[in-house]
Point group: D2
Chain length 416, copies 4
């Protein structure tokens, strides 16, 4: 190998190990039991994430590129393929929590086995572009699962009436911020990803979009504002709601954001730092599209389109992902003290669809994004638990309108 | 009254009676039993449509504008309000078929009672603009239900293993048409409704949209083409399908369009003219968004956006709605013989959302369109059962992606 | 034919016509719409009963015994076979209300067609014992459906918020009766059917059962007594309830008998004579096994076994079934004025099982009773809507513990 | 304390410790992950059993009888009360697997804490009769849960496509036994529990039952015999089945006993010793009541009543429960080599009801048995995993007719 390719090889290995390490770090303070349960279908056992991200490298990198590769266990492909039909059968998502085996330790062994072989692959080759490209996707994929881990861990711990904390660090109270609006003029704007840096297929191609004048709030909606909605019978008034939202509210007796609890008349919020008195100045988080839309309607405003949101973001410093590998300094809850974006993912009113000229990734990864372009809405802006190097302003997160276990909040918009 | 307003009054009454008459005409050849059942939640008993369209005039026109108006029956508001929460409680949609009373005859009496009073209202007043405006909406609303009646009647009759025909007129075979594509250049196009003529709130405002080059098929997909998809294991190949579509196919054992039947190896299609040998040259109809999207993927094409579709339509003669009041001459099934559009509603890949600057109707009618802007896709172009004066090229029909009891078909599109 | 067999033939024909006539009489005052709907799976459209009872004679009598018999319609077997797997495929029970065709008139034609041929069969033959035996079962089967018709009609009309009455005859108020208990000594008793007269297979063989001393109430539980249970939070206290009953109460928000309604604090009961003020002295009716058992527990008593009940009945005059063919004199609601039994079917604590040595009917009729011997409880005593000649004290009615649309009430029992 | 009461105290402590020890022994070879998951609602996480049996002593013994008792954790009552409504709210059974906390270790600490205090209670008192009585029930209760643990552990491990074994001991093949029948004469027999020794309330009172002549098989049905039923299309022939059974078979695609697997045409059975070739001479196990009844019908026989079964057992040596505390010698699967009873629980055709004169336990334990007397069938005879000192011939096990994760088999009976 030339020095150059040696450096590149070293750099890739370092990057690989650093991302992989963070995943296990996230799980470190948890009990094996926490890593194994699945309280609802959407929430996977954390040990499943540990295994699935590993399977991704096995299936996409080692199987095709490492000569003589032997699988750690023939059945892991069945168990840890999430939804790639072209990679064979897979275990049903809602049944992941039925599996006690492989154990956490066996999965950690699996991670070690694959890590060694990935490093071996990266060392032995002057890594071909294809390998580098798949490695990059694999690491981005793993970072997505890091945020999913925070979401799922939070849901798992919150299910427990003892409300165990994930982190023992204290949470500072947010400062109230003055509401202000940023205005944007009518015109043809460019939106979407461009250039050589990594981005998912769904962020391309960069393209022109004609936009009408709008103004967008410089602050996300706070718990205090959302409480006013509740106090004004917001959940009881059908004309605030989309038709499907009204059905959802009534079928599921929804009357507050996911992790709010009222105890003897006082409001609390479950956070990764345990149950806390509701911080009225902090951004409201864990609301569904239905709730975000109903709040905006009640407020006489609307949700922004993803175009409007990205235009706004283009003028904003990159922020999400201050999270660090060690939990001594990480605060796992949005607050309103300093940062304009990157506290909570914000719902947009844009349905998740392919951009004009959209092309999916090729091969197995064709199934990565395109097949989910139905009945989901785009969220923009990143959140406090989005890994630092993972985020871009062109990033398109997407969820179904009733889902709310992700760190989802609200930013209002108005026609100007 | 002046001569002019007398004429206007007469004209409105004529228009009113003509639309109202067509509704009962549609039901005339049916049995009372056909008018009363509800095989699935989506399909209302035809007698419910007869009553609901009447309630619409009662609630929106007579209650506010006719002095001394007395309701025909106090409970009809509960029973025949469809989903207007601001108009009070309403019976659940899925339970409409549980109601044997009021009978068909009682509902016809109700229609007569309301018709007389609407005419009285139109006669006694130099009809105020508000009254004219509500009348116009009420008639358009009734026309929508005329098409719904054809859809629901078809579903009800098709449920029956004896396959009774709605019309005894013979169906001519379609002629095969040569496939051709129309190309459109990149640019900023205007789309949406403009002017004084009636349109729904969701068609406005007319606005600019930046469009990339595309070509669109001048023919809708035929039964023969769709059969090739089936024969090529189209329903069995996951990579043709959206993720939710694949789940839908498997949970419901979907393997063909809604009204196709295979009997001893031969394909038939239930039509309003009874069970017919499948006409390979006729447009495929009664497919879901999932099926339309899967077919397009399999074909290496895609569905058009609603913008692309409307740009295409702007160059096309207005066509849907040749349907006439008497069933002696009406053919109730799409065929490919002559007409470029208006045979089947075509799925677009556009999620049903508000246009930039969208404002809902005011008052009770706020609930007419806006609250359904979630998890539905737009269909364009009208169909053989769309009433003649009801259709415009800006018309936006919308359904959920799994629904297919409407006259829904496929028109392909490609990036150019 | 001899005179004797001529007489026998005439007698059978008369009997046949009289039973068949009563079935259509029951439906006479109803609208076609009432005869066509199915508000819940348990409740069949009355027109289905009209057809199914006819199919029974077609399938079991005419097909095997009438030479050259031609079916009225080949598809009726599919549509009107209820659950006899050995007689071929059958339409699903819960989908009976989806069928608008055949219409009521077509079904009445079907009845006429079959009636003519049954009479022809009875005339042309010196009817063989097999024919007589099947005729007898067919008529008893039809009588069962006559009571089912009252149950289903009541449910259908009660579903309607307008509460239409089935009969316009006034309902007299019940007289309060003094509660008294009948005591029975320990010993070996005989129970079950014996002799040549008709009985269902499940009533045989007559057999000995060792019984411990018990006393049984000479009155059924009244509405007034049941109201005390409600007022004492009977539906809110888990220790009154079987575990499955408690789940049923809570999942379905049960808080009163099926047809009770509270309007502005006043209690009413829907009856076949329309909505009536609750008659506190009338027997409570339309309660589930769960409610009957909970009431008995609350009262410090228990339900009788079917053995105890039959021992009690053996000392009681035969009564149920005063119902007559003409609705001018028929009162379709239990009252407590005169009759000791035959007002309401009473739940017993006995699971519906085969008696020792039980043999099912043979042939298709093997499926008549035996296959339902699981998770059902026996009811005894007949009700006001049980046809007169149909009832015996050995009769075993049976329903699932949550069902209550039959005329089911409560008679208490105690260990002595 | 007198020597006598000292001895009694020591004896009770020994007994207590021995039963408690066996429970944790059963779980010893498992991973924490195995102890935490709940693949279906019926199957509780093993750690839940460890905690619930402890809560039983806490709630029923320590709370009322140990002065100054402090709970280990206030929330455990909510979490580990199974279904005793009079002991306060309880967590829903189907959500037990959602709880990652308390962890296995915390639950073991809880066990230690309660054990110490129970011992303290037994030492400090000349234990009053009430205490001895509750202790006895608590130990019997814990033994029931020991068998439940085997059932649940088996289900959990079998869910895993890797089929991990619970025990590594080899399983010997069964020897074929000659089928023989035992005959019993007609007459009045005594059945039920009598005397001072412990029994559940549902086994009393001993009472007379008149029984008709019957013969009962001296062998349980084998895998080989059951395979013949399958090969003869037993699962495909509706006339073998109860109506609800047929629905169950079809809705759930049932075609074999719970743990049978067919791999490349060969039959295997998952056992606690791992996946094994199907032993044709071993008793069939893990069949539902529906399957047991269908098999008997197909065989021209029937299931015995619980009376017949107990009469048969009265002539049989006591056998179940050879299981020992250490897994070095325990075989956890039925075989047919030696033992006449105690291999598999056998379904009877008797609905689980109270005996004549039945009285429930008093207080909280009123809910132990009585409230489940609905839609369950009695099983008799014990199984290979029933603890040794726990079983009596009067024992009445009971399950719903579709359940089959317990060690349930079939013994045939015939009218003589």
């Amino acid at each position: 190998m030339s020095n150059h390719s040696l450096d590149r090889s070293r750099q890739l290995i370092e990057q690989y190990l650093s991302v992989r390490q963070l995943t296990t770090d996230i799980c470190q303070s948890l009990e094996k039991e926490d890593l194994s349960v699945q309280p609802i279908a959407d929430v996977s056992p954390p040990k499943w994430h540990l295994a699935h991200t590993t399977w991704f490298f096995e299936e996409l990198l080692l199987v095709p590129y490492l000569q003589g590769f032997k699988k750690f266990n023939q059945q892991y492909s069945l168990l840890f393929n999430s939804y790639y039909k072209s990679a064979g059968d897979h275990w049903l998502q809602q049944d992941r929590g039925c599996l006690s085996r492989p154990t956490v330790n066996e999965i950690l062994d699996y991670r070690g086995y694959i890590d060694n072989l990935v490093i071996q692959l990266l060392q032995q080759n002057n890594p071909e572009p294809e390998i580098q490209s798949i490695l990059e996707i694999g690491l981005n994929h793993e970072q997505q699962h890091q945020e999913l881990l925070y979401m799922d861990i939070k849901y798992i711990l919150a299910t427990n009436p003892t409300y165990p904390a994930y982190s023992n660090l204290p949470l500072a109270k947010s400062h109230g911020m003055k509401q202000s609006w940023k205005s944007f003029a009518e015109g043809l704007y460019h939106v979407g990803h461009e250039g050589e840096a990594f981005a998912y297929d769904n962020e391309s191609p960069r393209h022109k979009h004609y936009t009408y004048p709008f103004k967008i709030s410089d602050e996300t909606v706070t718990n205090g504002e959302f409480l006013s909605f509740i106090d004004d019978k917001g959940y009881k008034s059908p004309n605030n709601w989309l038709s499907q939202g009204w059905d959802w509210v009534n079928s599921n007796s929804i009357c507050k954001p996911l992790y709010w609890k009222q105890i003897n008349g006082e409001w609390f919020e479950y956070t990764l730092h345990g149950l806390q008195p509701l911080d009225l100045d902090a951004p409201v988080v864990h609301v569904s599209y239905f709730e975000a839309d109903a709040f905006a309607t009640w407020k006489g405003a609307r949700l922004p389109t993803e175009y409007e949101f990205e235009i706004y973001l283009q003028q904003t410093e990159l922020k999400p992902g201050e999270k660090q590998a060690t939990s001594q300094v990480a605060i796992y809850h949005p607050n309103n003290s300093s940062q304009k974006v990157g506290q909570v993912w914000c719902w947009t009113k844009s349905h998740y669809s392919g951009y004009p000229g959209y092309q999916t990734f090729k091969g197995v990864l064709e199934e990565y994004n395109g097949k989910f372009m139905c009945n989901q809405f785009v969220l923009k802006g990143g959140c406090v638990n989005t890994p630092k190097d993972h985020y871009r302003h062109t990033y398109r997160n997407f969820y179904q309108p009733h889902q709310r276990w992700m760190f989802s909040g609200i930013r209002l918009c108005k026609d100007h």
